[in-house]
């Protein structure tokens, strides 16, 4: 059960880099999502880890209404899966297709209703399987700039110690806060 872990996102328009051990990345995703929804903020999940269909089932099991969530799914087509017509989901053919990913982010940010929006990037570490750190860094910088200009919150999930010190220092400069999920977890009784 992952619901016992809570993350307090202190500000609706801040950018976070959230670090967790590999076995807690999925739990971190859920915890972050619950926190965002509890703030009446509309989340846009960018997944390069799990396909939307699986995420939707996992969310349903956790009592999260998948209809309230917008998703950019970069792995369903990559796996040869069927991309069902779901209004709040956009599919990208490959996690390394940063051009389409950028376009999908821009389009979704325009159409997502409500004032409070938050991007959750799951995860920077998985993105690094597909592209070199320098390319990832440039892309994330592009996303961060877009979010800052639109005053939108962003949460970048990452496996702890899964970033080169150089990219970590660059990411540290982009984001407002770095949160170590395990330390956070350790401080909160489950």
């Amino acid at each position: 059960m992952t619901g016992a872990i809570t993350i307090d996102l202190q500000d609706d328009s801040l950018l976070y880099l959230m670090l967790a051990p590999p076995d807690k990345i999925n739990a971190m995703n859920l915890s972050v999502l619950k926190n965002i929804l509890s703030r009446n903020c509309t989340p846009l999940i960018i997944t390069v880890n799990q396909p939307y269909k699986i995420l939707a089932k996992t969310y349903a099991k956790e009592g999260i209404d998948a209809g309230k969530i917008y998703v950019i799914d970069a792995v369903t087509q990559y796996s040869g899966g069927t991309c069902g017509p779901v209004l709040n989901v956009k599919y990208i053919n490959n996690p390394s297709n940063l051009t389409d990913l950028g376009i999908a982010i821009t389009e979704f940010l325009k159409i997502i209703p409500g004032e409070k929006k938050c991007i959750v990037f799951d995860s920077v570490s998985m993105l690094l399987i597909h592209i070199p750190a320098v390319t990832a860094s440039k892309f994330l910088h592009f996303v961060v700039n877009k979010l800052k200009l639109s005053d939108i919150s962003g949460i970048f999930l990452c496996v702890e110690k899964g970033l080169d010190p150089v990219i970590l220092s660059q990411m540290s400069a982009f984001v407002d806060k770095i949160v170590d999920f395990e330390k956070k977890d350790a401080g909160i009784p489950s």
């Binding site: 799990q50 396909p51 040869g80 995860s123 570490s125 070199p132």
Partner: protein, 221 residues
């Protein structure tokens, strides 16, 4: 015509080598040498290696102040004459005729000839060494990055597969759900194998160039 330099006026003892020997050593040694007047920092002489490194003939070097070619940032702060320090095998920069910065290893010695002091500035060009060092650093960084792009993702893949095993037994997921996830993990492992293959190839190729993306990222040049 016989070349004359500061060494030529030296008072010799009976068993000392003739001046021509010193001139021959000065001309043939594979180290750049400037002879500088410490009072004015004027270059009095430059041997062929110094001329080659700067890319100018002696007549265009002699008469200039040494700061025009070496220690460009230290005008008025000469470590020897102003700061009274020693320079021995110290990394410095030489500016060649094109304005390029050439890394050198420099030593400065004081010498007295005919009751007049001179600075003997000798140096070796370490461009090749610097290039090899840069390449080594970039290569280590490249290996480091490649390992990083495999190690943590492999841990995540392991966890995803374990999670997948629980999904199979839960009965909540259909065959297509399971197939899709297995395929993603298989594709990811394939990409990681390619990353490792690229690493092996680039290391074993012993190429002169560092892959552009890593040069940019780690050296900023």
């Amino acid at each position: 015509m016989k070349k004359k330099g500061p060494a030529s006026g030296r008072q010799k003892k009976d068993n000392s080598p003739p001046d021509d020997v010193f001139r021959m050593v000065f001309d043939k040694i594979q180290t750049g040498i400037f002879i500088v007047d410490p009072a004015t920092h004027t270059i009095m002489d430059a041997n062929p290696i110094a001329q080659d490194t700067i890319g100018l003939p002696k007549e265009k070097i002699v008469g200039n102040v040494c700061h025009d070619f070496v220690c460009p940032a230290q005008r008025g702060q000469c470590p020897i004459t102003d700061l009274h320090k020693t320079i021995e095998n110290t990394e410095r920069i030489l500016i060649n005729k094109n304005g390029e910065r050439v890394p050198i290893l420099k030593t400065v010695a004081k010498a007295s000839m005919n009751k007049k002091e001179y600075l003997i500035e000798s140096f070796v060009d370490i461009r090749d060494r610097k290039k090899a060092e840069d390449r080594k650093i970039a290569l280590i960084a490249y290996i480091d990055e490649s390992v990083m792009r495999v190690k943590k993702p492999l841990e995540m893949t392991k966890n995803n597969l374990e999670f997948l095993a629980t999904q199979v037994s839960s009965g909540d997921y259909d065959t297509e759900d399971i197939r899709m996830q297995i395929q993603i993990q298989a594709n990811n492992i394939g990409t990681m194998v390619n990353t490792l293959f690229e690493l092996t190839k680039k290391v074993s190729d012993e190429r002169e160039e560092i892959p552009e993306e890593f040069r940019l990222f780690f050296t900023g040049t």
